[in-house]
Symmetry: D3
Subunit: 324 residues, 6 copies
């Protein structure tokens, strides 16, 4: 078995009885794994000196025991620049899905009627699109991968669009824009580097959190627009631009729904409650999807609890298919 | 101003300084009001002897002060049977909306693919349709009116249908049936009498609550079907009938989402989480709708907090309408 | 040292430095232990091929280190059918205690005055007695052993009987029947197989939990009785059978006492509160008993906290015994 | 209708439209009521000058409206010293019940085997018996009457005795002494004056609460015994006196069961948990008894929620009585 | 008794028995009171037509009954512009105290060493000083008066200064600036109009709350400074301006201490914890001060609980004064 | 590298693959470490027979791997009595700091004006000073070292003194005495032996906790004073001695601030709230100090969360220093 991966970490360790080894963390766009390299490995010296971030082609037989993954024998070579670029581009299936999701986001933005919200969303995609595409929706728990935020936002936009059809009194423009911006502060909290697969930590994310950062970003983009050519024509519009801005900020500020979950502001409009439930449903849905993929089966159809879900899971009921 | 209403209650009271009066509660399908009749009212004696449930045509000039509604002068006459029947039929606009909602429910049931779930839903509407149509979704807070449960279920079915479109892996049949049955125990907790506008209390509702009662009802209907002609043909179907029954019961048992809110069971499938959020969103939406209609304005666009919502409300942002 | 046990599980593992071994789980009626078999064990091959559930006579010298139990040297032979049957029958002392407890339960049932409750309890013991006797009261924490539910129910009946003597207004018949049925849903949540010592997982237990399952069981047994010969004579009794059924179901539905602990219904009668406290006390008492047996001593008379108890424990004060 | 009562309070008030009246609070051993005296009452002047605590014989026709109790016409005369003494002695039925309860407490104390605990309990009854007999178990909610603590302690002792029979490993001496002292700090938190029916407030009760005060009292009584003649002979006893004292204090310190309910210490022994549940059950039982007596019926058999109980109540199931 | 006040509100009401009156709310800088004007009042017509905000000199005899304050007879005249200006300036003692507090704030700002923080604070006082001086620290509970925020901030600065002396490692500059800005969002949540004594509601306060608004304000002022002349010279300073800004924003974002109390961010630096405790202490201290002034005495030295404090209060222990 | 330490513990262990070793715990006044001694160590036999508490001079080369600290080769010799005494005296820097802190405490006690409080504090230092100096402020989390309570109390006294300057109405004497006694119960909960570095467990600490023990200690010391010569002269003082005692006990009883954190009593005076916040701030400050010293850096300036703090930490902003 051969695979390509980036060296994401390396620690010098010893077994309980003193046998030294290197613990190597390898990552690609789909996740990471940790591998041991024993002192008698042919490339031990070379491994000890690799720079973090190096691209590797790894070849070998691997087994998993309760201590992690072990390979015997295994070897590696450095990736050439072409292969490295492909590695960084990520798993093609994931990439294709995220590209489709991003196109959906652009489509929803194009469908907005309110010229202020439409311009603001477009301005965001224009200026921060690249950073957006390499941001996760969370550090763990759900959509915790490069591009995860794009997937989360696109699915929430589809839900918001569907729910706006069911509740016609909801302001669809506001909800779609609210979905786009609700987690935008995570561009400074859960972002990946341009050439790497390890979520970093940013001081601003730690010290403010994504809700205040998101409010700051919306305000900054809004000020940009005020210096643009269309700004004059917006003064006559109803509802007023200032009211539109406040409602949008309210969605960002209140989307966790309650103080306990970190919203500085409680929802005060129907759109705020709708956004909160759409967000929560998608997060839970993805947690379950991850859990179904990873959890041990305790008995037929029953899977072991996966944090942060509160209980064991049951395999979903297959849809009934009419045979004929 | 003249209106028709049913006598829903009557208490003998006195002012602080000893002046006696009757406190009369009048109700129709849209709500109730409380009126004072002073001892010098021309029909005081007649009022004192009316039977609860009598239908009245009330005529007069009414004002509201901080003590409630007072009328001066006002009079009433008894409704003839025709007018009484009309009164019990309820406000035509509400009735029309509830009829449309009920038709939607029937349409969704007709659209189910799984023959077990489809038969179960149809059996429920057949046997308990009338009782369902005079049940509220709650004692207060949201949809607290005769027929409120039909409105709540119909809207949730529309949401479930929309969300199933966004998450194609969800089992649409299961979700729609789950919506229909999730609150069916309320037929013994929040039901209205056949000829009256006051929600009663049932011993079974008090002693078990709507979740255990709902599970009991689903099981009872399921046993009925097992004695029906199609039952034999269902034995070969996949997934098995027993698994379908368990998943449906699971949706009823877990729809409050957490123990704190009274679910004996925590959600263990994606459909259970989806149903929980669809339910919660519709309940909050209706609470807000009621609150916008009733709350005092504290300042332009700001309305006073209405229990059980957690904060003041803000008037929603009007949708932007392109002028041309 | 020789002992008899059933093979309850086997995993292939390796030490940190790559030495392979089998991790064997052996169980009998009093608990389970985990043993390592190294690759150089004389019966390693035979061990690798044993069927789960096999009965073994194990002989050897065992020591416990921080990694678990290790034996050197140890060997095993297969149990003959006789010895296997004895093993499955369980530890004689435990068995004798559970038999006495079961006889107590039968005695309490025989002492009931209300013919409906008496018949219902007897019907339960008749139909489900065997399953009841191999059910635990919980998956862990307290009475987590085959037959544990019988012990828990018998002790609670003794308490309920005693408390009914102290509070004569309490309905003793109702309380004793309530104790018998309060956890009966656990027959599908915490049951052991007929020939094994490992609690299984049932889909119905996962998807509904023992409270809804218990309500369903009581209702099923009740319907059985309605088809019986005495049913006609019960129609004249006071209180009515329907009221008796509701009160009994209420005890099952409310016995966890609060929503947070998973009751779908809050206690609404004195018997419901009494049952809740009697249950809680016995659970805590058994947790402490287990903890006293297992916990490390931190200092003379002080034992280390054992989950789920909230703090360190103190050795109980010995009863004062008059010497003379 | 005539009744005897003590003047427990008097306020000068006016109706909304300016009519002055006196609001008189009258109390006896069973409770209190509030009565209006209008300015035109024949004894208005005399009423205005009565001293608080005066004993009155009140005669008249009384009605209750939503503003309280009103009488027309009514009059009063001062009680003679004999009648006053009878009034202070309290309702004979209550008094008889409390006397029987007190005798039970003395009987349980006499039955203790541990000479230290027996002497301590007897010393408490000896020194603080009178104060104990005029203390309530709470300011409101349950046993909130002169002598209520005696009733609560006696019933808990009967329960503790019964439970010790069911769990023979429990230390019965310790539990009975623990019951006697668990709320003894309330002698400074919920006590009534020697000649009155209104619970006072004591600075020590406010500033420390009954748990620290109870610990202080047990320690004080214990020190008294150390100066007594038997002290020398106790030094040889096992368990040691110091250990007995600590266990007894532990029961006082932990009887609320959790920090949230104000225990500075969490239960660490089986007796501590048992005492906590016995206490809780008796408090809940009395809250229900009061609620059944006071609550409005919402429907046959369903009573309106009474604070601090969490829900509506249901009338208990009458015991089945064999007719023959 | 004569006093000057502003007409802050007027409602038409009736007594229970139908007698009409005006409920007049009068306010000055120290608080407000509600007065009834009966229909037979000599100036009833004039009162009905007064504009809200009018200044009145009120003269009469006033009594308080349980329904509020009533006066008989009373009259009023309109204030001349001079008197009106004096009224708006407020109670001289309060004004003097707030002026001294404001001077303290200016003094602390002048004492800062970090030129960025010093400039930012001065810029705030310069631009928003007037609005700051007419803002309360809360809508109710503590410092709920025009200028209350100045009092709260000044006292907290004195505390921060004192605590920085005790913990020399704390960054005094950062803490003092953090105190000045921690509640600055309240300038849009709890502000008073320029000529009135009634706290208004602002849409931005409702939709964002004071923490996001405060962050927005600090950022706005910071951008202003970046366009100023000193900005260039700051580039070389250490710590960097960006780090200073983040730490200051962190103090604003985290000052409620936990999510439950509405902080979007949890404290991550010692200064953040210190600020949280300094804030909390001053708020509690003022709640107690208000409570001591308002609460009923339940017994000597014991005062009735005042929301939101959790329990009854006890009169503080007077300081011991050495007599000589 | 050589260091002196006390043998605080020894366990016989094996590696996963069966290699035996001794796990040695060595402690000095600054903390403890755990070291492995393999069976081939030259002093293995001697190590196996050392008495706990022996003083050792350890010499060798040490490395830390993920399993703890290992040394190769290392040796030890027994300390002579002189060296042992020095070891027990502790780290000179810590000792000097604690001596200075203790002198501060004595200074604050000397500064009290109220003769009762001053005598009580002096009596405590006199009788329990030594035990106080070897007590920690907690078992873990903060000041968890011999003498930690002295450091905590001294710093809190400095804060209380500073805060009393800012809020002149606070009773400084009461606050300083309250600080001295607030945790004095920990002398039986977190004390170290006279010649050792391992916190023990005391039965009284487990069974009562430090708040009830602290109240008991204050009462005991108070009784001592009542037998002293000054007691007579105190009878005329105002406020009364009894009131002073109650207020001091109130500070001990309420210093955790809420029931959830184990206070049996809620704060009812300004001094009680002030003490609670001063305590909380110092505990949090020390937790952070420990965390900054121990936590892994996740990114520049960001440190990993350390229990019980609720989030990651950020390196504090350095104070600005004017260069010139």
């Amino acid at each position: 078995m051969e695979f390509h991966a980036q060296l994401a970490g390396r620690k010098e360790k010893e077994t309980k009885s003193g046998k030294p080894y290197l613990e190597i963390t390898l990552a690609d766009s789909t996740g990471s794994l940790t591998l041991k390299a024993w002192a008698d490995h042919a490339q031990y010296g070379q491994l000890s000196e690799l720079k973090e971030g190096a691209g590797l082609a790894v070849d070998g037989q691997f087994t998993r025991n309760q201590w992690g993954i072990d390979g015997s024998p295994w070897s590696f070579s450095l990736l050439d620049p072409n292969a490295m670029q492909q590695l960084l581009a990520g798993d093609p299936a994931t990439l294709a899905r995220q590209n489709a999701d991003y196109a959906d986001i652009e489509g929803f933005v194009a469908s907005l009627h309110d010229p202020r919200l439409k311009a603001l969303c477009a301005h965001f995609l224009n200026v921060f699109g690249d950073r957006f595409r390499r941001t996760a929706a969370a550090r763990r728990n759900h959509h915790a991968r490069r591009g995860g935020l794009v997937e989360h936002v696109a699915q929430m936009m589809r839900s918001a669009n569907a729910i706006a059809g069911v509740y016609p009194a909801l302001n669809r423009d506001l909800m779609l824009a609210g979905v786009l911006f609700h987690d935008c502060g995570k561009l400074w909290e859960n972002t990946y580097p341009e050439s790497g697969f390890t979520q970093g930590f940013q001081l601003s994310g730690e010290m403010l959190g994504h809700i205040p950062l998101g409010i700051e970003l919306v305000n900054k983009l809004w000020r940009d627009l005020q210096e643009g050519p269309e700004h004059e024509s917006w003064k006559a519009l109803s509802p007023s631009s200032e009211l539109v801005r406040l409602h949008l900020l309210h969605l960002v500020a209140s989307h966790h729904g309650t103080h306990e979950f970190g919203s500085p502001t409680l929802p005060r409009t129907p759109e705020a409650y709708a956004l909160h439930h759409i967000d929560n449903l998608d997060a839970k849905y993805e947690m379950m999807k991850d859990a179904y993929a990873k959890a041990n089966e305790l008995a037929p159809g029953i899977l072991e609890r996966q944090f942060p879900l509160p209980s064991n899971l049951v395999v979903p009921l297959p849809s009934f298919v009419q045979s004929d």
